[in-house]
Symmetry: C2
Subunit: 307 residues, 2 copies
């Protein structure tokens, strides 16, 4: 199976307590596609400006990402500027310049219109809907991301798109906001009644929760002593998750749980260096090792009923 992602491609300028970087590659489609590429073939739809360095395009090509849906438009690339304090769970946006991304109307090339798995990155929910309109055959799974901005500002469009997808990836504050429920498990139940049959609630350093209508699976975050830059962790999680599904080729509850672990694992590499830097050097052996250590992190022998 392959995964199609539609989302943003950005140049990020970041400040964390550990350093500063200007105009490094970012955006949901960038992180997602790179992360997913460690497990499966990926197709990307997105837009960059005239100033987007060819080296970043070549990096994605080098990861095997099919860029037939990448448009280079007149103007400048989407730019995001953000800062993190020691609490790396929260980004403070300093500046956003949409540039060519402001006019983005995703168009799937003919070869991309029958994806096995589709991920709608965090863009306007109407554009996410526009992507769904172009798909010729129902994908086996459609995942989507969204954010506080659309939850408060474009709620109607968001709910319409949400009703058309299978799975939502969202962070815990956004889940609470979307559901209007403080308790995360009540919020999850409310969201699952809005359409998707599956939900991942991302909780940063606390891991992720995977819900279907009957079960919850809790995956801790991988224990990291050094987190440099949390940018892209959520998209890398989703990329690892859906890339793993594509690799396994099935959507059983057990595979979804493994995908959650795979997503967490890939995200844990993402945050170890700035931007895509950790992915540039990441090996399959490192991924395998970290995946294996997840079992040690959570395993306990079942407590016998007699106790």
């Amino acid at each position: 199976m392959a995964v199609l992602v539609v989302g943003s491609i950005a140049l990020d300028s970041l400040e964390t307590p550990f350093g500063k970087r200007d105009d490094v590659p970012g955006g949901s489609a960038t992180f997602f596609s790179t992360a997913a590429s460690f497990f499966a073939p990926v197709q990307l739809v997105g837009v960059v400006g005239e100033d987007f360095p060819q080296a970043h395009v070549e990096f994605l090509q080098g990861r095997g990402v099919d860029l037939a849906g990448l448009t280079r438009a007149p103007g400048k690339t989407f730019r995001w500027k953000g800062r993190y304090g020691f609490d790396l769970n929260e980004a403070h946006t300093l500046d956003t310049q949409l540039n060519v991304f402001g006019e983005f109307r995703p168009e799937l090339p003919p070869a991309f219109r029958n994806p096995d798995l589709l991920f709608l990155g965090n863009i306007h929910p109407e554009l996410q809907g526009l992507v769904l309109d172009q798909v010729e055959k129902r994908p086996r799974l459609v995942g989507m991301d969204t954010m506080n901005f659309w939850i408060s500002g474009s709620r109607k469009a968001l709910l319409e798109t949400l009703a058309r997808v299978d799975m939502l990836f969202i962070n815990d504050a956004e889940a609470r906001q979307l559901a209007g429920e403080h308790n995360v498990f009540k919020a999850a139940r409310a969201i699952l009644s809005m359409g998707p049959s599956r939900l991942v609630i991302k909780r940063g350093e606390y891991g992720a929760l995977l819900f279907d209508r009957e079960h919850v699976f809790a995956a801790p975050a991988y224990p990291l002593e050094d987190v440099f830059d949390p940018t892209g962790a959520g998209d890398s999680f989703a990329g690892g998750f859906m890339g793993y599904l594509a690799r396994k080729g099935d959507l059983t509850p057990n595979t979804l749980r493994q995908a959650c672990v795979a997503g967490t694992t890939i995200a844990s590499f993402c945050v170890e260096k700035f931007s895509l830097d950790r992915f540039r050097e990441l090996t399959d052996a490192e991924i395998r090792q970290r995946l294996a250590s997840f079992k040690t992190l959570t395993h306990f022998d079942e407590i016998p009923p007699a106790v």
Copy 2:
């Protein structure tokens, strides 16, 4: 095996978004002993004032807690008044009246001086040390709790006591404060270099991390849709944890992991009603059922190296 706990016994007045209670039983020794009593025999050392209702004493007796170390002193019982907002992870202390607890000098009755397992509840670290002085034979495991107040105000005494115990139970903000490290895994490593060979970092609704010098075990919190009163959750966790160790009768790494799950499970009941109310009606069958569902919550099939 049996567990000995030394700690506070209080009358709490609480406000949460879900209600208000005045002068309900609280305190570290109260929650710990009740929680541990679901798994093993418990001995308690603590002090109450003349106003402490006999009904609360009888409740503990009814749970089989050995109260030979309970003193009734002239004066009023320790009182704590607190409020929680919707973020139930954080308590806002409104008032503390130490009363007879201010003069508390723990004294172990002769029959309590050879405990298998000892828990030093959150009291002045010098008093915790005083308890250790009275123990005739090294217990198989000594656990302790502490809080921000002692970490900042009595650091030297705290470090001295910490060097004498086997295991610290602490919440994540306190772990960061004690270690002077923002990253929780670095903080854990620093704390394990201060003496204890094991450490639990409690993270409220995000669960708990159990460390020894080589491994981490991550236990999620039990998924609860209704949390009424988080007071006592930490002490109930420790009580469930050490009670389980006493019941199993060994301290293997696997038993410690199971104890972490048992502690999380017992704490999850504690917060479902005010004060000890959920424990008043809790059955072994309910505990067994929730323990069993923990496996479902965290289990995934190991990802084969070929993937």
